[in-house]
Protein backbone atom coordinates (compact mmCIF):
# COMPACT_ATOMS: atom_id res chain seq x y z
CA UNK A 1 0.00 0.00 0.00
CA UNK A 2 2.76 2.44 1.00
CA UNK A 3 6.14 2.23 -0.69
CA UNK A 4 9.19 4.23 0.42
CA UNK A 5 11.98 3.81 -2.14
CA UNK A 6 15.40 5.15 -1.07
CA UNK A 7 13.85 8.29 0.36
CA UNK A 8 16.08 11.05 1.74
CA UNK A 9 15.06 14.41 3.12
CA UNK A 10 17.55 17.16 3.88
CA UNK A 11 16.54 20.45 5.54
CA UNK A 12 19.24 22.97 4.65
CA UNK A 13 22.13 21.46 6.62
CA UNK A 14 20.25 18.82 8.66
CA UNK A 15 19.45 15.36 7.33
CA UNK A 16 16.01 14.23 8.50
CA UNK A 17 15.81 11.01 6.47
CA UNK A 18 18.55 9.04 4.79
CA UNK A 19 17.92 6.35 2.19
CA UNK A 20 14.74 5.00 3.78
CA UNK A 21 13.14 1.99 2.10
CA UNK A 22 10.18 0.01 3.41
CA UNK A 23 6.73 -1.18 2.44
CA UNK A 24 3.46 -1.21 4.35
CA UNK A 25 0.86 -3.74 3.23
CA UNK A 26 -2.86 -3.07 3.31
CA UNK A 27 -4.40 -4.01 6.67
CA UNK A 28 -1.08 -3.85 8.56
CA UNK A 29 -0.50 -2.07 11.87
CA UNK A 30 2.99 -0.59 11.73
CA UNK A 31 4.59 1.25 14.61
CA UNK A 32 7.49 3.52 13.81
CA UNK A 33 9.61 4.07 16.85
CA UNK A 34 12.55 6.32 17.56
CA UNK A 35 13.78 9.22 19.64
CA UNK A 36 12.77 12.80 18.92
CA UNK A 37 14.47 13.90 15.73
CA UNK A 38 14.78 10.35 14.41
CA UNK A 39 12.67 11.33 11.37
CA UNK A 40 9.28 9.82 12.28
CA UNK A 41 7.21 12.94 11.68
CA UNK A 42 9.06 13.75 8.45
CA UNK A 43 8.09 10.29 7.28
CA UNK A 44 4.39 10.91 7.85
CA UNK A 45 4.61 14.35 6.24
CA UNK A 46 6.10 12.75 3.15
CA UNK A 47 3.17 10.34 2.85
CA UNK A 48 0.73 13.25 2.97
CA UNK A 49 2.94 15.26 0.59
CA UNK A 50 3.26 18.01 3.15
CA UNK A 51 6.98 17.79 2.41
CA UNK A 52 8.86 16.96 -0.78
CA UNK A 53 11.64 14.35 -0.61
CA UNK A 54 15.13 15.49 -1.50
CA UNK A 55 15.67 12.12 -3.11
CA UNK A 56 13.67 8.91 -3.72
CA UNK A 57 9.96 8.27 -4.21
CA UNK A 58 6.91 7.66 -2.02
CA UNK A 59 4.00 5.72 -3.49
CA UNK A 60 0.47 5.32 -2.16
CA UNK A 61 -0.60 2.22 -4.04
CA UNK A 62 0.36 3.11 -7.63
CA UNK A 63 0.37 6.88 -7.04
CA UNK A 64 3.59 8.84 -6.65
CA UNK A 65 2.26 11.27 -4.02
CA UNK A 66 4.77 13.98 -4.89
CA UNK A 67 3.73 14.11 -8.52
CA UNK A 68 0.12 14.93 -7.65
CA UNK A 69 -1.52 18.22 -8.57
CA UNK A 70 -3.35 20.15 -5.86
CA UNK A 71 -6.82 18.75 -6.58
CA UNK A 72 -5.59 15.17 -6.76
CA UNK A 73 -3.64 15.63 -3.55
CA UNK A 74 -6.87 16.76 -1.86
CA UNK A 75 -8.54 13.56 -3.09
CA UNK A 76 -5.63 11.44 -1.81
CA UNK A 77 -5.78 13.06 1.62
CA UNK A 78 -9.44 12.11 1.85
CA UNK A 79 -8.32 8.46 1.73
CA UNK A 80 -6.01 8.99 4.72
CA UNK A 81 -7.09 9.75 8.27
CA UNK A 82 -4.61 11.79 10.33
CA UNK A 83 -4.15 11.88 14.10
CA UNK A 84 -1.58 14.26 15.55
CA UNK A 85 0.18 14.64 18.88
CA UNK A 86 -1.28 18.14 19.24
CA UNK A 87 -4.71 16.95 18.00
CA UNK A 88 -5.01 19.70 15.35
CA UNK A 89 -8.71 20.17 15.91
CA UNK A 90 -10.55 23.24 14.65
CA UNK A 91 -10.77 25.35 17.82
CA UNK A 92 -13.80 27.39 16.73
CA UNK A 93 -15.89 24.36 15.91
CA UNK A 94 -17.69 22.05 18.33
CA UNK A 95 -16.90 18.33 18.52
CA UNK A 96 -19.86 17.68 16.22
CA UNK A 97 -18.78 20.34 13.74
CA UNK A 98 -15.16 19.14 13.70
CA UNK A 99 -16.29 15.75 12.46
CA UNK A 100 -19.01 17.19 10.23
CA UNK A 101 -16.35 19.36 8.55
CA UNK A 102 -14.36 16.29 7.51
CA UNK A 103 -17.56 14.76 6.10
CA UNK A 104 -18.49 17.97 4.28
CA UNK A 105 -15.02 17.99 2.76
CA UNK A 106 -15.72 14.71 0.99
CA UNK A 107 -19.20 15.86 -0.07
CA UNK A 108 -21.40 13.88 2.31
CA UNK A 109 -25.05 14.92 2.57
CA UNK A 110 -26.65 16.55 5.61
CA UNK A 111 -28.56 13.33 6.31
CA UNK A 112 -25.38 11.24 6.31
CA UNK A 113 -23.67 13.76 8.58
CA UNK A 114 -26.63 13.82 10.98
CA UNK A 115 -26.67 10.03 11.25
CA UNK A 116 -22.90 9.25 11.23
CA UNK A 117 -21.48 11.93 13.54
CA UNK A 118 -23.39 10.90 16.70
CA UNK A 119 -22.52 7.30 15.93
CA UNK A 120 -18.77 7.89 15.69
CA UNK A 121 -18.83 10.11 18.78
CA UNK A 122 -20.47 7.27 20.65
CA UNK A 123 -17.75 4.94 19.36
CA UNK A 124 -15.05 7.07 21.02
CA UNK A 125 -17.24 7.69 24.06
CA UNK A 126 -17.78 11.40 23.44
CA UNK A 127 -21.56 11.55 22.96
CA UNK A 128 -21.87 13.79 25.99
CA UNK A 129 -19.31 16.23 24.51
CA UNK A 130 -21.01 16.72 21.15
CA UNK A 131 -21.56 20.47 21.46
CA UNK A 132 -18.35 21.25 23.35
CA UNK A 133 -15.43 23.10 21.79
CA UNK A 134 -11.98 21.44 21.84
CA UNK A 135 -10.78 23.99 24.40
CA UNK A 136 -13.43 22.72 26.81
CA UNK A 137 -12.23 19.12 26.59
CA UNK A 138 -9.37 17.18 28.23
CA UNK A 139 -6.33 16.01 26.24
CA UNK A 140 -7.62 12.43 26.08
CA UNK A 141 -11.03 13.58 24.91
CA UNK A 142 -9.50 15.80 22.25
CA UNK A 143 -7.40 12.92 20.96
CA UNK A 144 -10.45 10.64 20.86
CA UNK A 145 -12.24 13.36 18.92
CA UNK A 146 -9.29 13.59 16.51
CA UNK A 147 -9.48 9.81 16.00
CA UNK A 148 -13.24 10.04 15.40
CA UNK A 149 -12.58 12.69 12.78
CA UNK A 150 -9.86 10.56 11.21
CA UNK A 151 -12.06 7.48 10.82
CA UNK A 152 -15.38 9.12 9.93
CA UNK A 153 -14.85 8.86 6.17
CA UNK A 154 -13.67 5.24 6.46
CA UNK A 155 -10.15 5.94 5.18
CA UNK A 156 -7.93 3.18 3.87
CA UNK A 157 -5.04 4.36 6.03
CA UNK A 158 -4.75 5.99 9.44
CA UNK A 159 -1.55 7.85 10.25
CA UNK A 160 -1.21 8.55 13.95
CA UNK A 161 1.79 10.80 14.62
CA UNK A 162 2.70 10.50 18.33
CA UNK A 163 -0.99 10.31 19.26
CA UNK A 164 -0.19 9.51 22.88
CA UNK A 165 2.64 12.01 23.28
CA UNK A 166 0.56 14.43 25.34
CA UNK A 167 -1.51 11.90 27.26
CA UNK A 168 -1.36 10.20 30.66
CA UNK A 169 -1.06 6.36 30.83
CA UNK A 170 -4.82 5.78 31.18
CA UNK A 171 -5.65 7.86 28.12
CA UNK A 172 -2.68 6.37 26.25
CA UNK A 173 -4.05 2.90 26.84
CA UNK A 174 -7.50 3.95 25.61
CA UNK A 175 -6.14 5.52 22.41
CA UNK A 176 -4.03 2.44 21.64
CA UNK A 177 -7.06 0.18 22.11
CA UNK A 178 -9.14 2.34 19.77
CA UNK A 179 -6.40 2.24 17.12
CA UNK A 180 -6.13 -1.55 17.46
CA UNK A 181 -9.87 -1.87 17.06
CA UNK A 182 -9.75 0.27 13.91
CA UNK A 183 -7.00 -1.98 12.54
CA UNK A 184 -8.96 -5.10 13.41
CA UNK A 185 -11.79 -3.74 11.26
CA UNK A 186 -9.40 -3.72 8.27
CA UNK A 187 -7.90 -0.22 8.19
CA UNK A 188 -4.14 0.08 7.76
CA UNK A 189 -2.57 1.99 10.66
CA UNK A 190 0.84 3.69 10.81
CA UNK A 191 1.66 4.88 14.29
CA UNK A 192 4.74 6.84 15.28
CA UNK A 193 5.82 6.92 18.91
CA UNK A 194 8.83 7.12 21.16
CA UNK A 195 7.03 5.22 23.91
CA UNK A 196 8.28 1.62 24.20
CA UNK A 197 5.28 0.71 26.40
CA UNK A 198 2.88 1.59 23.62
CA UNK A 199 4.70 -0.66 21.15
CA UNK A 200 4.76 -3.54 23.55
CA UNK A 201 1.04 -3.24 24.21
CA UNK A 202 0.30 -3.27 20.47
CA UNK A 203 2.58 -6.20 19.74
CA UNK A 204 2.66 -5.74 15.94
CA UNK A 205 5.29 -4.81 13.33
CA UNK A 206 7.81 -2.21 14.53
CA UNK A 207 10.15 -0.12 12.39
CA UNK A 208 12.91 1.43 14.47
CA UNK A 209 14.52 4.65 13.29
CA UNK A 210 17.64 6.45 14.38
CA UNK A 211 19.13 9.63 12.93
CA UNK A 212 16.91 9.42 9.88
CA UNK A 213 17.73 5.79 9.07
CA UNK A 214 15.72 2.59 9.46
CA UNK A 215 17.85 0.47 11.75
CA UNK A 216 15.44 -2.38 12.44
CA UNK A 217 12.21 -3.73 10.92
CA UNK A 218 10.50 -6.55 12.85
CA UNK A 219 8.20 -7.87 10.15
CA UNK A 220 8.06 -11.22 11.87
CA UNK A 221 6.22 -9.87 14.96
CA UNK A 222 2.68 -10.29 13.57
Amino acid sequence: MIYFNNVSKVYRDATALEDVTFTVEAGEFVSIVGHSGAGKTTLTKLILSEEMPTDGTVFFESINVHKLKNDDLTKLRRRIGMVFQDFKLLPNKTAYENIAFAMEAVGKTEEEIASDVPHVLELVDLSHRMSHFPGQMSGGEQQRLAIARAIINQPELIIADEPTGNLDPVNTHEIVQILKKINDLGTTVILTTHNRGVIESINKRVITMENGKVIRDSKHRK
Partner: protein, 307 residues
Amino acid sequence: MAITVLKRIIKAGFLNFKRGGVVSWAAVLVVTITLSVITLIILLQAVLHFSLAQIKDKVDVTIYFTVGAGEDKIMALKSSIEKLPEVSQISYTSASEALKLFRDRHSKDYPTIQALDEIGENPLGGYLNVKAKEIGQYESIANFLKSGSALSLDSASIVDKVNYYQNKLVIDRLNTIISGAQKLGFLITLLLVLISIVITFNTIRLTIFISKEEIGVMRLVGASKMHVRGPFMIEGAIYGAVATFFTLILFWPATAWLGRNMTNFLGINMYDYYLANFLNIFAILLFSGIILGVISSFLAVRKYLNK
Protein backbone atom coordinates in the same frame (compact mmCIF):
# COMPACT_ATOMS: atom_id res chain seq x y z
CA MET B 1 -24.88 19.67 -4.52
CA ALA B 2 -23.49 23.08 -5.41
CA ILE B 3 -26.32 24.73 -3.45
CA THR B 4 -25.57 22.53 -0.42
CA VAL B 5 -21.89 23.50 -0.61
CA LEU B 6 -22.82 27.18 -0.92
CA LYS B 7 -25.19 26.92 2.04
CA ARG B 8 -22.50 25.27 4.15
CA ILE B 9 -19.96 27.92 3.20
CA ILE B 10 -22.36 30.76 4.06
CA LYS B 11 -23.33 29.14 7.34
CA ALA B 12 -19.68 28.55 8.27
CA GLY B 13 -18.88 32.20 7.40
CA PHE B 14 -21.57 33.48 9.76
CA LEU B 15 -20.49 31.05 12.50
CA ASN B 16 -16.84 32.10 12.12
CA PHE B 17 -17.85 35.74 12.40
CA LYS B 18 -19.95 35.07 15.49
CA ARG B 19 -17.28 32.97 17.18
CA GLY B 20 -14.43 35.25 16.12
CA GLY B 21 -15.36 37.58 18.99
CA VAL B 22 -12.96 40.50 19.48
CA VAL B 23 -11.03 39.71 16.30
CA SER B 24 -14.20 39.96 14.18
CA TRP B 25 -15.17 43.26 15.77
CA ALA B 26 -11.66 44.66 15.36
CA ALA B 27 -11.88 43.88 11.64
CA VAL B 28 -15.33 45.51 11.48
CA LEU B 29 -13.89 48.60 13.19
CA VAL B 30 -11.11 48.94 10.62
CA VAL B 31 -13.50 48.44 7.70
CA THR B 32 -15.82 51.03 9.32
CA ILE B 33 -12.92 53.51 9.38
CA THR B 34 -12.23 52.80 5.70
CA LEU B 35 -15.87 53.25 4.77
CA SER B 36 -16.02 56.44 6.85
CA VAL B 37 -13.10 57.80 4.81
CA ILE B 38 -15.01 56.94 1.63
CA THR B 39 -18.18 58.64 2.95
CA LEU B 40 -16.17 61.69 3.95
CA ILE B 41 -14.71 61.83 0.44
CA ILE B 42 -18.22 61.62 -1.06
CA LEU B 43 -19.35 64.53 1.13
CA LEU B 44 -16.23 66.60 0.42
CA GLN B 45 -16.66 66.00 -3.29
CA ALA B 46 -20.22 67.31 -2.95
CA VAL B 47 -18.93 70.49 -1.26
CA LEU B 48 -16.23 70.89 -3.89
CA HIS B 49 -18.64 70.36 -6.78
CA PHE B 50 -21.18 72.70 -5.26
CA SER B 51 -18.57 75.44 -4.72
CA LEU B 52 -17.10 75.02 -8.18
CA ALA B 53 -20.56 75.02 -9.79
CA GLN B 54 -21.36 78.23 -7.95
CA ILE B 55 -18.16 79.88 -9.13
CA LYS B 56 -18.76 78.64 -12.68
CA ASP B 57 -22.28 80.00 -12.56
CA LYS B 58 -20.97 83.47 -11.77
CA VAL B 59 -18.93 83.57 -14.96
CA ASP B 60 -20.65 84.68 -18.17
CA VAL B 61 -20.07 86.75 -21.29
CA THR B 62 -22.27 89.73 -22.09
CA ILE B 63 -22.63 91.15 -25.57
CA TYR B 64 -23.74 94.80 -25.40
CA PHE B 65 -25.51 96.24 -28.40
CA THR B 66 -25.45 99.77 -29.67
CA VAL B 67 -28.37 102.03 -28.90
CA GLY B 68 -31.10 101.60 -31.43
CA ALA B 69 -29.79 98.27 -32.75
CA GLY B 70 -32.59 96.45 -34.53
CA GLU B 71 -34.20 93.67 -32.53
CA ASP B 72 -34.41 91.39 -35.59
CA LYS B 73 -30.64 91.61 -36.04
CA ILE B 74 -30.08 90.89 -32.36
CA MET B 75 -32.44 87.88 -32.55
CA ALA B 76 -30.59 86.59 -35.62
CA LEU B 77 -27.29 86.82 -33.74
CA LYS B 78 -28.89 85.17 -30.69
CA SER B 79 -30.11 82.19 -32.69
CA SER B 80 -26.71 81.73 -34.33
CA ILE B 81 -24.99 81.81 -30.92
CA GLU B 82 -27.57 79.41 -29.52
CA LYS B 83 -26.51 76.86 -32.11
CA LEU B 84 -22.96 76.73 -30.71
CA PRO B 85 -22.40 73.46 -28.83
CA GLU B 86 -20.49 75.26 -26.07
CA VAL B 87 -23.46 77.45 -25.08
CA SER B 88 -25.58 76.23 -22.21
CA GLN B 89 -27.81 79.25 -21.75
CA ILE B 90 -28.46 82.55 -23.50
CA SER B 91 -30.77 85.31 -22.38
CA TYR B 92 -31.75 88.55 -24.05
CA THR B 93 -32.42 91.78 -22.21
CA SER B 94 -34.01 94.42 -24.40
CA ALA B 95 -33.08 98.10 -24.21
CA SER B 96 -36.28 98.98 -22.35
CA GLU B 97 -35.74 96.15 -19.86
CA ALA B 98 -32.16 97.27 -19.42
CA LEU B 99 -33.40 100.76 -18.63
CA LYS B 100 -35.94 99.43 -16.14
CA LEU B 101 -33.30 97.34 -14.41
CA PHE B 102 -30.99 100.36 -14.34
CA ARG B 103 -33.69 102.50 -12.76
CA ASP B 104 -34.48 99.84 -10.17
CA ARG B 105 -30.84 99.46 -9.33
CA HIS B 106 -30.38 103.20 -8.89
CA SER B 107 -33.79 103.99 -7.41
CA LYS B 108 -32.18 105.71 -4.42
CA ASP B 109 -29.55 107.47 -6.49
CA TYR B 110 -31.50 110.66 -7.29
CA PRO B 111 -28.82 112.52 -9.32
CA THR B 112 -28.49 109.58 -11.70
CA ILE B 113 -32.25 109.14 -12.10
CA GLN B 114 -32.56 112.88 -12.61
CA ALA B 115 -29.85 112.85 -15.28
CA LEU B 116 -31.61 109.99 -16.97
CA ASP B 117 -34.87 111.92 -16.98
CA GLU B 118 -33.02 114.93 -18.42
CA ILE B 119 -31.87 112.90 -21.41
CA GLY B 120 -35.42 111.93 -22.14
CA GLU B 121 -34.70 109.00 -24.41
CA ASN B 122 -33.22 105.58 -23.50
CA PRO B 123 -29.43 105.83 -23.55
CA LEU B 124 -28.94 102.10 -23.02
CA GLY B 125 -28.75 99.38 -25.56
CA GLY B 126 -29.97 95.77 -25.17
CA TYR B 127 -27.61 92.92 -24.34
CA LEU B 128 -27.22 89.17 -24.62
CA ASN B 129 -26.02 87.17 -21.67
CA VAL B 130 -24.24 83.96 -22.67
CA LYS B 131 -23.28 81.11 -20.36
CA ALA B 132 -20.98 78.34 -21.55
CA LYS B 133 -21.11 74.74 -20.40
CA GLU B 134 -17.49 74.87 -19.22
CA ILE B 135 -15.38 77.85 -18.24
CA GLY B 136 -12.74 76.99 -20.84
CA GLN B 137 -15.29 77.40 -23.61
CA TYR B 138 -15.80 81.16 -23.23
CA GLU B 139 -12.82 81.87 -25.37
CA SER B 140 -14.19 79.91 -28.32
CA ILE B 141 -17.55 81.72 -27.96
CA ALA B 142 -15.72 85.05 -27.95
CA ASN B 143 -13.71 83.93 -30.97
CA PHE B 144 -16.92 83.03 -32.75
CA LEU B 145 -18.23 86.54 -32.13
CA LYS B 146 -15.01 87.99 -33.43
CA SER B 147 -14.93 85.76 -36.48
CA GLY B 148 -16.66 86.25 -39.77
CA SER B 149 -19.41 83.74 -39.07
CA ALA B 150 -21.06 86.07 -36.62
CA LEU B 151 -20.31 89.11 -38.70
CA SER B 152 -21.74 87.55 -41.83
CA LEU B 153 -25.15 88.18 -40.31
CA ASP B 154 -24.33 91.82 -40.54
CA SER B 155 -24.27 92.09 -36.79
CA ALA B 156 -20.87 93.71 -36.37
CA SER B 157 -22.35 97.13 -36.59
CA ILE B 158 -24.83 96.48 -33.77
CA VAL B 159 -22.31 95.03 -31.24
CA ASP B 160 -21.06 97.73 -28.94
CA LYS B 161 -18.69 95.61 -26.85
CA VAL B 162 -18.15 92.08 -25.52
CA ASN B 163 -17.03 91.99 -21.90
CA TYR B 164 -15.11 88.71 -22.25
CA TYR B 165 -11.95 90.58 -23.14
CA GLN B 166 -12.17 92.68 -19.98
CA ASN B 167 -12.77 89.59 -17.84
CA LYS B 168 -10.43 87.29 -19.73
CA LEU B 169 -7.73 87.27 -17.05
CA VAL B 170 -10.17 86.47 -14.24
CA ILE B 171 -11.91 83.79 -16.27
CA ASP B 172 -8.62 82.13 -17.23
CA ARG B 173 -7.41 82.20 -13.66
CA LEU B 174 -10.65 80.74 -12.38
CA ASN B 175 -10.45 78.03 -14.99
CA THR B 176 -6.96 77.09 -13.80
CA ILE B 177 -8.04 77.08 -10.14
CA ILE B 178 -11.12 74.95 -10.81
CA SER B 179 -9.34 72.32 -12.89
CA GLY B 180 -6.50 72.33 -10.32
CA ALA B 181 -8.97 71.83 -7.47
CA GLN B 182 -10.63 68.97 -9.34
CA LYS B 183 -7.30 67.27 -10.03
CA LEU B 184 -6.13 67.74 -6.44
CA GLY B 185 -9.45 66.43 -5.15
CA PHE B 186 -9.13 63.36 -7.32
CA LEU B 187 -5.54 62.73 -6.20
CA ILE B 188 -6.37 63.13 -2.52
CA THR B 189 -9.36 60.82 -2.96
CA LEU B 190 -7.23 58.22 -4.69
CA LEU B 191 -4.54 58.44 -2.02
CA LEU B 192 -6.99 58.16 0.89
CA VAL B 193 -8.82 55.26 -0.68
CA LEU B 194 -5.53 53.48 -1.36
CA ILE B 195 -4.32 53.96 2.22
CA SER B 196 -7.65 52.70 3.56
CA ILE B 197 -7.56 49.63 1.33
CA VAL B 198 -4.03 48.76 2.42
CA ILE B 199 -4.93 49.13 6.11
CA THR B 200 -8.07 47.02 5.71
CA PHE B 201 -6.26 44.36 3.73
CA ASN B 202 -3.58 44.09 6.39
CA THR B 203 -6.10 43.88 9.22
CA ILE B 204 -8.00 41.09 7.49
CA ARG B 205 -4.68 39.40 6.74
CA LEU B 206 -3.90 39.49 10.46
CA THR B 207 -7.28 37.95 11.36
CA ILE B 208 -6.59 35.16 8.88
CA PHE B 209 -3.02 34.76 10.12
CA ILE B 210 -4.57 33.73 13.45
CA SER B 211 -6.36 30.93 11.57
CA LYS B 212 -3.20 29.86 9.73
CA GLU B 213 -2.99 26.50 11.47
CA GLU B 214 -6.69 25.92 11.10
CA ILE B 215 -6.38 26.36 7.34
CA GLY B 216 -3.59 23.77 7.30
CA VAL B 217 -5.73 21.32 9.28
CA MET B 218 -8.68 21.85 6.95
CA ARG B 219 -6.49 21.04 3.97
CA LEU B 220 -5.12 17.96 5.77
CA VAL B 221 -8.58 16.53 6.34
CA GLY B 222 -9.15 16.84 2.60
CA ALA B 223 -11.11 20.09 2.30
CA SER B 224 -11.01 21.65 -1.15
CA LYS B 225 -9.59 25.16 -1.58
CA MET B 226 -13.06 26.63 -1.97
CA HIS B 227 -14.32 24.81 1.10
CA VAL B 228 -11.52 26.42 3.14
CA ARG B 229 -11.54 29.81 1.46
CA GLY B 230 -15.31 30.26 1.11
CA PRO B 231 -16.17 30.84 4.79
CA PHE B 232 -13.34 33.38 5.12
CA MET B 233 -14.66 35.25 2.09
CA ILE B 234 -18.18 35.24 3.53
CA GLU B 235 -16.71 36.49 6.81
CA GLY B 236 -15.01 39.30 4.85
CA ALA B 237 -18.34 40.18 3.23
CA ILE B 238 -19.96 40.27 6.67
CA TYR B 239 -17.25 42.68 7.90
CA GLY B 240 -18.15 44.92 4.95
CA ALA B 241 -21.91 44.71 5.47
CA VAL B 242 -21.78 45.32 9.23
CA ALA B 243 -19.27 48.16 8.76
CA THR B 244 -21.61 49.75 6.17
CA PHE B 245 -24.40 49.70 8.73
CA PHE B 246 -22.19 51.31 11.39
CA THR B 247 -20.83 53.93 8.99
CA LEU B 248 -24.32 54.97 7.88
CA ILE B 249 -25.44 55.29 11.50
CA LEU B 250 -22.28 57.22 12.40
CA PHE B 251 -22.79 59.79 9.63
CA TRP B 252 -26.42 60.43 10.54
CA PRO B 253 -25.74 62.63 13.58
CA ALA B 254 -22.46 63.86 12.07
CA THR B 255 -24.16 65.28 8.96
CA ALA B 256 -27.06 66.58 11.07
CA TRP B 257 -24.54 68.58 13.12
CA LEU B 258 -22.81 69.81 9.96
CA GLY B 259 -26.18 70.74 8.46
CA ARG B 260 -27.13 72.76 11.53
CA ASN B 261 -23.82 74.50 12.12
CA MET B 262 -21.79 74.53 8.94
CA THR B 263 -24.25 75.11 6.09
CA ASN B 264 -23.18 78.73 5.63
CA PHE B 265 -19.51 77.85 5.62
CA LEU B 266 -19.83 74.83 3.31
CA GLY B 267 -22.49 76.38 1.11
CA ILE B 268 -24.46 73.17 1.16
CA ASN B 269 -26.62 71.51 3.83
CA MET B 270 -24.82 68.26 4.50
CA TYR B 271 -27.77 66.64 6.26
CA ASP B 272 -30.10 67.33 3.31
CA TYR B 273 -27.45 66.09 0.91
CA TYR B 274 -26.88 62.94 3.00
CA LEU B 275 -30.60 62.15 3.17
CA ALA B 276 -31.18 62.92 -0.51
CA ASN B 277 -28.32 60.64 -1.54
CA PHE B 278 -28.75 58.07 1.22
CA LEU B 279 -29.52 55.16 -1.10
CA ASN B 280 -26.61 55.99 -3.39
CA ILE B 281 -24.19 56.30 -0.46
CA PHE B 282 -25.56 53.07 1.02
CA ALA B 283 -25.01 51.26 -2.29
CA ILE B 284 -21.47 52.63 -2.71
CA LEU B 285 -20.48 51.71 0.87
CA LEU B 286 -22.04 48.26 0.77
CA PHE B 287 -20.41 47.48 -2.55
CA SER B 288 -17.00 48.84 -1.46
CA GLY B 289 -17.18 47.15 1.95
CA ILE B 290 -18.14 43.74 0.63
CA ILE B 291 -15.69 43.81 -2.27
CA LEU B 292 -12.91 44.98 0.05
CA GLY B 293 -13.67 42.26 2.61
CA VAL B 294 -14.07 39.46 0.08
CA ILE B 295 -10.97 40.30 -1.97
CA SER B 296 -8.80 40.87 1.12
CA SER B 297 -9.87 37.50 2.54
CA PHE B 298 -9.39 35.77 -0.79
CA LEU B 299 -5.83 37.07 -1.09
CA ALA B 300 -4.94 36.52 2.56
CA VAL B 301 -6.09 32.87 2.60
CA ARG B 302 -4.30 32.12 -0.66
CA LYS B 303 -0.97 32.32 1.11
CA TYR B 304 -1.80 29.41 3.43
CA LEU B 305 -3.69 27.28 0.94
CA ASN B 306 -0.92 25.95 -1.18
CA LYS B 307 -0.19 22.90 0.91
